[in-house]
Symmetry: C2
Subunit: 317 residues, 2 copies
Amino acid sequence: MLKLDIKKAITEIKKKNAKTVILQLPEGLKGKTLEIIERIEGKTKAKVIAVMDPVWGACDLAETEMKEFNADLLIHLGHAKYTDSKIKVVYVPLEYSVKEINLDKIQRMLENEKIKKVGLLCAVQFYNILKEIEKGLKKKKFTVLLEKGGEKIDCKGQVLGCDQSSAVKIEKKVDGFLYIGDGFFHPLGVAVSTDKKVLAFNPLNGEIKDLVEEKNIFVRKRYGSIARAMNAKVFGILVSRKKGQLRKELALELKKRIERKGKKAFIFSMDFIKSEYLMGINIDCYVNTACPRIIEDNLNDKPVLNPEELFEVLEKI
Amino acid sequence: MLKLDIKKAITEIKKKNAKTVILQLPEGLKGKTLEIIERIEGKTKAKVIAVMDPVWGACDLAETEMKEFNADLLIHLGHAKYTDSKIKVVYVPLEYSVKEINLDKIQRMLENEKIKKVGLLCAVQFYNILKEIEKGLKKKKFTVLLEKGGEKIDCKGQVLGCDQSSAVKIEKKVDGFLYIGDGFFHPLGVAVSTDKKVLAFNPLNGEIKDLVEEKNIFVRKRYGSIARAMNAKVFGILVSRKKGQLRKELALELKKRIERKGKKAFIFSMDFIKSEYLMGINIDCYVNTACPRIIEDNLNDKPVLNPEELFEVLEKI
């Protein structure tokens, strides 16, 4: 069950005597938009303006809306702080609560994989469940390790789609990782960034999955994209205008490096990177400087590389 | 044929010694993106960043990109100036040239409709053709009237999807209007905003169309939406964050007025107003404060009203 506690937001609105607040909420919560607005407007004097464009995470703060609507506060649901911003933001992370965690099943899986020293990881909305599992595994005599990664990371064990530092930091000290969350993108990132076994436990349905097959498919796909990129003559460099994703300097640097190899390079900026916006553009290969999740799909059947993969290609051509 | 003269942009880039320029171009020109960038980068020292999100017109300036990319100049293709902005913009309107204009055909249509005093109107990219037709019709002894509408209007006779003032100002002085352009949204606006006959001449295929049927369909659809809105209990007010479309005060005022009638009202902000971003939200009727073109479609099968239509509804309930 998803617990949504907006008391913190209401307290902040009252404290600031905010007149206009901007609300950002993840796609999964959109069905609750009206209810959330009514709760806020019922308990404060603020008028709420809800941003309905899809939100990618805490890297995607509605700064333009804050300025243009002359708003006093941004309420950002579902994510923990990620990037510094001059605007006043209240982060309201979501929390999942589950009736029961089958610790014996987790124990069996870990033992099967010979993981005695286990690194615990989670998506931020499962942090309370991670703490519970940590306690349970310690009782069962596992060595449990948790680390707070780089600056973008808000709490111990948290990983982002673009940041696996909480895992990488303890890679050498553990036999394997247990990720707690309901998707595979984050633990897949860990599986790719480290050489250790990653098990993903989904507390919502009780399932545990070994990420090895996903990792193999992902790596094969990446090799495929890199191979196709070797023959590319015209590169399109993708930049997002989302504050926490925008890497202008990197994009200009990539352009320079591609051109140095006698190839063409064009920089494309988008708020929301979509295939349809790039239709009819004659590009052989895209290079993505925004959210790393974008490489999951090809764009209009053209390969998409992350910068590190481009460097690999450029070295070889 | 479409003529694209970017010399003005190149001159401005050189004059400003611009290092980074942002390029915005309409969907119809996207196929030429690479060519345009290469021409600019080949003749200047600037690096071009092309904004690939769809552009709605000159009301949609890439201000965020200008700031975030620390750019020196915005090159805005295909539209004339519409709104004031602190950023440095070079507008590069497009021009259509056609081999021959069948003036006799235009003359016959006007005479059939008993239009002797004709108000000339156009979309800005057809302004040169409008001037030619003006000359021709004068030779044929028509009384030709042209007016520059409100502040948003850049040249005599120009109409926008949201501004028919160039027509309204001379409505009483003419027997009817001749609109020159390749779509029907602009002349339909004129047909709805005035009581005069509107003929739309498309110089690209030589066709002339009487807008009376489109007007009737449009008006019937509007009545349908208004009738459905009469029973609505929950209203969603749509605001665009696009600089030239953002009407926050109006949105807050609409919310107040709707609530005064005992109905619920929620404000939704979007960059690009799309049905898919509003799915799963339980709204009976949307009110659009952004580009008036949005009311052309229902949103997730819910009626969409413009503010004036909402006022009509609120008066009756």
